[in-house]
């Protein structure tokens, strides 16, 4: 197996606007004549957690697969860890870790064997390999199950093992496609803790998620994708500040909808209606609150969050 000398200037490429771990320019992908990733520009900086959000079918997985060299782009340029992709994707994969959207642990092996054989693919041998596997079994909290088959693991355990497997080569960059989808809150918190730990060690993370609170908690910067395009790219707070008023009032039920219909256009809020519920976005909460109180309506008052931005930018209708 190849060994690659790791030096800093090899890891991060310098450009006019600073160093980056991954950069895509006008990246394009078509399937059957349909544009699935539409000339997107992305930049991931060293040590940050970068989120890729978007409805089902937005093109997140396709974008990640292109970055990993698993799908050839139809246009644009792509660099990951300083390597041109897909030309030197294999060399880039020496130094990165992958948590795919759907687990592909090896069902022919036990937990420990999964890590040991995977370490072998990266050229780890002997004592070093055993120590690394021990560390990762402890990291994934799977000491009790290390000699069991993959089928005996719960969804959360499988995900933890997949994450541990992605770390076998101490990667500089970890790419995670929906790392917490389908997990219970405990398992999700555990993964978050692991990811924060990685970030503290300086590992760069790229992740996709459908959970806005996850993105808000973990990501330094994120891009929102819709139908193959990037519709916004910034830090969670900047996105909220830029795209949405800070106060949100949620109302629902027939009475509330009748009340809303009765409001003339002097209501100091932007109303967003979905079926029999509505979200009122406003700069100042007090005037709207007063009207709601006067009408005797129940409401929920909360600060605007990433989900509001997401819904505003990608629309409320179902996607598939």
């Amino acid at each position: 197996m190849d060994t690659v000398a790791l030096t800093d200037d090899f890891t991060t490429a310098q450009t006019a606007d600073g160093p980056h771990i991954a950069r895509a320019c006008r990246l394009l992908k078509r399937y059957d004549g349909q544009t699935v990733v539409d000339h997107i520009d992305l930049e991931v900086r060293p040590g940050e957690c970068f989120g890729l959000l978007g409805p089902n079918g937005a093109g997140k997985t396709t974008t990640l697969r292109m970055m990993l060299g698993l799908t050839p782009p139809d246009g644009g340029t792509l660099h990951v860890l300083g390597e041109p992709i897909p030309a030197r994707a294999r060399e880039a994969r020496v130094r990165l870790g992958i948590v795919p959207q759907f687990d592909n642990l090896d069902p022919d092996f036990t937990v420990r064997e999964n890590l040991t054989t995977y370490a072998g693919y990266f050229g780890l041998k002997g004592d070093a390999r055993r120590r690394r596997v021990d560390e990762l079994i402890a990291f994934a909290n799977l000491g009790q199950r290390e000699n069991m088959g993959i089928d005996s693991l719960s969804g959360g355990m499988k995900r933890r093992l997949t994450l541990a497997r992605a770390l076998i080569n101490r990667p500089e960059l970890v790419v995670l496609d929906e790392p917490t989808t389908g997990l219970d809150p405990q398992a999700r918190h555990h993964i978050w803790q692991c990811l924060r730990g990685l970030k503290q060690q300086g590992t760069t993370l790229i992740l996709t998620t459908h959970y806005m609170e996850e993105a808000e908690r973990l990501c330094d910067r994120l891009a929102i994708m819709d139908r193959g395009r990037i519709v916004a790219q910034d830090s969670p707070n900047a996105l909220i500040a830029e795209h949405i008023d800070p106060h949100v009032l949620e109302i629902n039920g027939n009475a509330a909808m009748r009340w809303l219909d009765g409001q003339t256009d002097d209501l100091p809020a932007r109303a967003h209606r979905v079926g029999d519920m509505a979200l009122l976005y406003c700069r100042e909460a007090a005037p709207v609150l007063e009207r709601l109180e006067r009408a005797g309506l129940r409401y929920l008052h909360r600060p605007a969050n990433l989900e509001d931005v997401f819904m505003k930018l990608t629309g409320h209708e179902l996607r598939d």
Partner: protein, 259 residues
């Protein structure tokens, strides 16, 4: 990497090969028993049962003739099964290949690793038959050992052909077409069970366009204590099948998986 039509040959196939070996070790006992059991059954049932009827072929007892044929057909079947059912399972059902592609391995490494592994299994099964045949006194001299490298080459060729079928297959049912349309006719027309000169000339010529007959024509003399003729020609045909099939299957699988 994507644009080149030729497969990229690299020793990186070894970790893939080793992965399959590690899994095989877990079921080694039944597997080895199968390797020995099947040829014993074939040789005893066919050889004694049939041999009584057929008698000798020239000065060759039918059992001896059959043993040298079965070692070839078994290599073909073992490599084909592994290259289709097992490789397809790892590619499609188990997503093992997806996992491998997360490591610094190319699809080309995986395909070559699978083919080399299938060839290795063909070698294991042929070795078992050779041992059984030797114990039954059906092998003339040490020349028979030279059959083993030939079997490895044949296993490579048949596995590579099987990998083309795997690349095209959408389900396990598809493999039956290949067995019915390619493997079984080849088995019957390559001098495994009876000498080719029993057949019309046209068929004999057609049979020589397929690889199995060339394997048989090298291995049978080695097993009965003679030197084969036209060795280079025979081995070139087998090798050509292997290399062309390796290239085609790698190309097809890249199109299927790296899309």
């Amino acid at each position: 990497m994507m644009t080149s039509l030729m497969p990229q040959l690299s020793l990186r196939f070894i970790p893939v090969w080793r992965r399959n070996l590690l899994v095989w070790r877990k079921i080694m006992v039944p597997s080895v028993l199968g390797n020995f059991g099947e040829p014993v059954l074939y040789l005893l049932a066919f050889g004694y049962g049939f041999g009584q009827l057929v008698g000798d072929l020239g000065d060759l007892p039918y059992m001896v003739f059959l043993a040298s044929g079965i070692i070839c057909s078994s290599a073909m079947y073992t490599a084909s099964f592994e290259g289709m059912y097992s490789a397809y399972t790892r590619m499609s059902e188990q997503k093992t290949w997806d996992g491998l592609l997360g490591a610094p391995l190319n699809l080309d490494d995986i395909v070559l690793g699978e083919i080399m592994w299938a060839a290795t299994k063909a070698l294991m099964s042929a070795t078992a038959i050779l041992v059984v045949a030797a114990l039954l006194g059906l092998v003339s001299d040490l020349r028979a050992l030279l059959a083993l490298p030939v079997i490895l080459l044949a296993g490579f060729a048949f596995a590579a052909c099987a990998m083309i079928v795997t690349a095209l297959s959408r389900s396990y049912d598809f493999f039956l077409y290949y067995f019915t349309l390619a493997i079984t006719p080849m088995l019957l027309l390559s001098g495994v069970f009876f000498p080719l000169d029993q057949l019309p000339d046209v068929i004999v010529i057609l049979a020589h366009l397929l690889p199995l007959v060339h394997v048989v024509e090298v291995i049978r003399p080695l097993m009965i204590g003679e030197w084969p003729v036209n060795v280079l020609l025979h081995l070139s045909v087998v090798a050509a099948y292997g290399l062309v099939a390796l290239s085609l299957s790698t190309w097809l699988l890249r199109r299927r998986l790296m899309c």
